[in-house]
Each structure stands twice: as C-alpha cells, then as structure tokens.
C-alpha cells in the first residue's frame, strides 16, 4: 500500500528526466572545465553525451517524438564509442611523446 502511494507521488515525468539530464550535463561540463587530466576530461564529455541521450529517450517516451528519439540516441552511443576509441589512441600517443597526460604540461604550441 505504502509503495503504491509513493509510486503515484513520485511518478517520474518528462520534467524529472530533463532535470536529471541537465544536472548530468552540468557535471560533465564542470569536469571538462576543471579537470587537468585528459582521461577525466574525456569522461566529462561522455557524461554530456549521455545527458543528451536521456533527453532524447525521455522525449520519445513522453511526447509525440516516437522512435526518432531512440534512433538518434542509438547513433549518439555509437559516435561516443568511436570518439572514445580515437581519443584514447591519441592520448596514448601523447603519453608516448610527453610522458604525461596533464593538459597544463603539454603546451609547445603558443602565440
């Protein structure tokens, strides 16, 4: 009985999902802006991409968007994987060249 009441009060709607995704996006952006380690920055990017996915799926579920949202979300997942693969390869190469992955210490190009 109690569970039923809780369910009806906390029935998640579109706004809840959008709020969660906005928080996730902000956390990701904060990681990108504040972290100096390349891997942490890339993790921030993943959070931002997944925030977009939550948005798309929530819109699919609660509005008339239909399967289009699911499609875009699927492709975003694929792109995130491809991007991570490329990014990690580049980070590996950076480590081989500079022996560090701290963004502040890798700055030969200036002007």
């Amino acid at each position: 009985m109690g569970i039923l009441i809780l369910n009806s009060i906390f029935q998640p709607g579109l706004v809840h999902f959008l709020t969660v995704s906005a928080i996730l996006f902000s956390l990701g952006l904060m990681a990108v802006l504040s972290k100096r380690n390349v891997i942490m920055v890339l993790m921030g990017v993943e959070l931002m991409l997944n925030a977009a996915n939550i948005n798309l799926l929530a819109f699919s579920r609660f509005t008339g968007l239909g399967l289009d949202g699911h499609m875009i979300a699927l492709f975003v997942v694929i792109m995130a994987a491809a991007e991570a693969a490329v990014a990690l390869a580049i980070v590996l190469n950076v480590y081989n060249r500079f022996k560090t992955i701290n963004l502040d210490e890798i700055s030969q190009l200036r002007g």
Partner: protein, 498 residues
C-alpha cells in the same frame, strides 16, 4: 518504398563513390605494399568520378532517403568545391615531405582523407538533424586522426589532442542542443522543425528552445572556427602537417558553411518575407542576427589583430582564416539572396587563394624546412615563380584588385550595405586594411631582405609548377570574369526562397 530507395541511391552516387574509393584504398594498402602512393591515386580517381556525378546534380531538386538529405544546385555547388579542394589536397599530400617519413602507413592517411571528404559531402546535403550530427562527427573523427598523423612529431600530437578535446566537447554541446530542439518541436527534419517553430512556441518552453539554438551555434561555430570558438584553430593548424592544415582550413570550412547556412536558414528563419532581418524572428527571445553579426565582427577583429604579431606562417594563415570566417558569416547574417550568393562566391575564391598560399608555404617547407617568417628571407630571389605566386595569393586574401578576392569582398560588402548592416561593413573594411600589414610583411621579407650568404636558388619539379598555375589562374581569372559563377550562386540560393 523500395522504389524511392533505389531512386535515392541513384542521386547519392558522389557519396557512394567515395565509400568505394575508401574501401579500395584499404584493399590496395593490404595488397600493393610496394606501391605506397597507390592510395593517393585511387582517391584522386574517386574524387574525379564523384565530381562527374556531382556535376550532373546541378539543376536537380530532389529530396532523397525519406527526406534525410537533399540533392539540389546548392548542394552540388558546395560538393564541387569540397571535391576540388580535396583533389588539390591529395596532390599536395603526394608531394609532402612531412608524410614521406610515414610511407609505410600512408595508405591509412588516404583512407582517412576519403572518410573526411565523405563526411563533408554528407554535411552539405543533409536535411535531418540525425544525419547532420553523423556527417559532422564523421568529418571530425577523421580530422582528429589526420591532425595527429605525423605521430613522431610532438607538435602534431599536441595539436590532435587539443583538437579532439575542443571538438568532442563542442559536438557534445551541440547534440545536447539538438536533443532539446528535437524534443520540443517533435520532429527531426529541418523543414518540420521550422514548421513547428513557426507555429509558435509555448512561452514556458521559449527559454529552453533559445538555449538549444545557442548550443547548436556553439557546435557549428567551432567547426567554422569563428570567435569565440576559435581557440583550437591556431594550434591545430600549426601542429598538423601542411596538407591536413589545407583541408581543414579550406574543405572543412566550406562544408561547415554549407551545413550552417542550410540548417540555419531553413530551420530558424522564415523565407516568406524575402529575407532581411525580419526573417530571424522564428525563434523569439535572442536577436539572432545581432548575435551572429557580433560573432562575425569579433572574428574579423580578433583574427586580423592577432595575425599581426605571428611569426609562424601557418599560425598567421590560421588567424587569417578565422578572420575570413568572420567575413563569410556576414553573408549569413544579412540573410538576403544577394548576401548568401556573395558568401558562396567568396568561398569559391577562398578555396583557390587559401590553398595556393598553403601550397607555396608547403613547397618552401619541403625545400628548406621554412616555417617562420625569418626563414622566408630572400626567397623572392631564390624561388621567383613561387614567391610571385605567394604574393598574388596574399594580395587576393587581402582583397585587392585585380584578383578574385577583391570581387568577392566587393559583392559581400555590397550585399551587407544594401541590407543595412553599415557598422558591420565599417568593421570589415577597417580590418581588411589591417590585414594588409601582415600579408604584405611576408612579401617584404621575401623581396627586400637579402638571402643568407651562398644560398642556392631553390629547385622545384615541373609538376609543382603545373599545380601552382592551376591555383593561380582561377584566383586571377575570377577577378576579371566572375558573372557566370555569380549567376550560379544566385541560382543555388533559390532553394531558400530568395
């Protein structure tokens, strides 16, 4: 359904050709180990065939793959420019000294280049946000790797790392914006989104829709390297090998402007009132024309002023290309048929003059390792033809007659004046004069400073001279004979209802 798919395939042949070229390059790389440059020639053949198919798309007006992409004169115009740029860059790559050191892996290079061109072709044709995002990412992912292709060079490595970080963040911001836009309008095609936006946005959603459009501006602004999203450009242009810098500065910018213009004009403006500032009122709240106009003005100011104090030639050209992005953006800001056509004309001239400048810089770098301005001392005496060509390209970039650069700037400024953007044209005019200083400085160093004692005249093979002339002739010819191209640009923007 099957019928439409088949018909769509027939209209998607340029892209399909590039996919085939990409596959053949991989196979050739596995099989023909002794003939390393096979990839380059295969890509060149693919580009020519794709160019042939693109040429047949002029005058078409079709929507293909269930409204995912459009085939029209506008798209064909941009595709021709991209293929032309890619062709030149492939020729540059075959001659690049930087890539010679990686001869055993150069097949991968051409494969990635083919992928990048494929993404750029898709960018200018897509009319659906999903395809727009995909094309955007295909182009970006290839260019990240290409930037870091010379992986033994620390500068190239650093450039690719900076590029992928800036790039992935801005594309993540863009897809978040797209997710909001798609959610609130309930559509993924750009025409349907426009219809939903024109139908009126609920006032409680207005803030989020504005935010969504702003986020999309961030993503696209990054790709065209316009201030304030330009930070990556100087570092990436300086670190990347010359051919990659050329395709990023020219091909990528052309494709991004093709996408930006189609997407913004169709999605966020009304075509009914024939253009002008009133067309931007589809999404209320922010004055989009003022925002984009301010970005253009900032790009011109920051790009040209920062270029003044650069000593590295690639870095100087990078800041100059940021400034050019500002000039080009003017065409979109004024939102008239004249303005958009002038922007397309400018892009076509920009292709030749900028590729030319990069090509001569690459030849000098191949021959002497020159990259800074000090290395250019006396090159006017050691390599007369190349130095004269570079002078002409730089004069064209400044926008002086009798070059195509002058005509392009004239059309663009004229369009902005007749649309009433006087302050923007004044800024553009002043920054053009400023740009004269740093372009001419290169010429001065080449001619009026003596070469080092005992410096030999530089020798270049005959084929580099042919390529140079192929770039030089259009730069000059477009300054004298430009009406057919201008007519074509005017015909191309007809899809927007202007």
């Amino acid at each position: 359904m099957a019928e439409q798919t088949l018909q769509s395939i027939g209209l998607y042949l340029p892209e399909i050709t590039l996919v085939l070229a990409l596959t053949v390059i991989i196979l050739a790389d596995l099989l023909a180990e002794r003939f390393r440059n096979a990839g380059g020639w295969i890509l060149l053949t693919g580009l020519v065939v794709a160019g042939f198919f693109t040429f047949r798309q002029f005058g078409a007006s079709e929507s293909i793959f269930f409204d995912m992409a459009a085939v029209d004169t506008y798209g064909a115009y941009f595709k021709s420019m991209i293929l032309l740029a890619a062709g030149f860059v492939t020729v540059f790559s075959l001659r690049s000294a930087e890539l010679k050191a990686y001869a055993s892996r150069v097949g991968e290079y051409y494969m990635l280049l083919a992928g990048m061109v494929l993404g750029m072709l898709m960018m200018v044709g897509s009319t659906n946000v999903l395809l727009i995002y995909l094309a955007f990412e295909v182009t970006s992912l290839s260019s990240y790797v290409l930037t870091g292709f010379t992986k033994k060079s620390p500068r190239s490595t650093e450039a690719s790392m900076k590029y992928i970080i800036y790039g992935s963040v801005s594309s993540a911001v863009m897809i978040y914006g797209i997710s909001l836009l798609v959610g609130f309008t309930g559509a993924t095609g750009i025409y349907e989104i426009n219809a939903a936006l024109s139908g009126g946005i609920a006032s409680d959603q207005l803030l989020l829709v504005n935010l969504a459009v702003l986020m999309i501006v961030v993503g696209m602004g990054f790709k065209v390297a316009v201030v304030p999203f330009h930070f990556w450009a100087p570092d990436v242009y300086e670190g990347a090998p010359f051919p990659v810098t050329s395709i990023l500065a020219v091909g990528s910018k052309i494709a991004a402007f093709g996408l930006l213009t189609r997407f913004f004009v169709i999605t966020f403006t009304t075509a009914t009132d024939g253009g002008g500032a009133a067309g931007w009122s589809v999404v209320d709240g922010i004055r989009w024309d003022l925002l984009l106009g301010a970005m253009a003005a900032l790009a011109m100011i920051v790009g040209n002023l920062t270029a003044l104090r650069q000593t590295n030639i690639k870095r100087m050209l990078a800041y100059s290309s940021i400034a050019h992005a500002g000039y080009l953006l003017m065409g979109l800001v004024v939102l008239t048929g004249q303005g958009l056509a002038a922007m397309m004309f400018y892009l076509f001239v920009y292709l030749f003059m900028n590729l030319g400048a990069f090509y001569v810089a690459m030849l000098f770098s191949n021959a002497t390792g020159a990259e800074t301005l000090a290395d250019y001392r006396g090159l006017g005496h050691r390599a007369p033809l190349q130095a004269v060509s570079l002078t002409i390209f730089l004069v064209a970039l400044t926008g002086l007659p009798p070059t195509g650069g002058f005509v392009a700037k004239l059309f663009l400024f004229g369009a902005a004046i007749s649309a009433g953007w006087i302050w923007l044209v004044i800024i553009a005019g002043i920054t053009t004069i400023i740009s004269l200083f740093y372009y001419i400085r290169v010429v001065r160093v080449m001619y009026f400073e003596k070469p080092d004692e005992g410096a030999e005249p530089l020798r270049f093979s005959a084929d580099t001279r042919v390529v140079l002339l192929l770039l030089l002739i259009p730069t000059l010819a477009l300054g004298l004979y430009f009406s057919p191209l201008m007519d074509l640009s005017r015909a191309a923007v007809a899809i927007f209802g202007f």
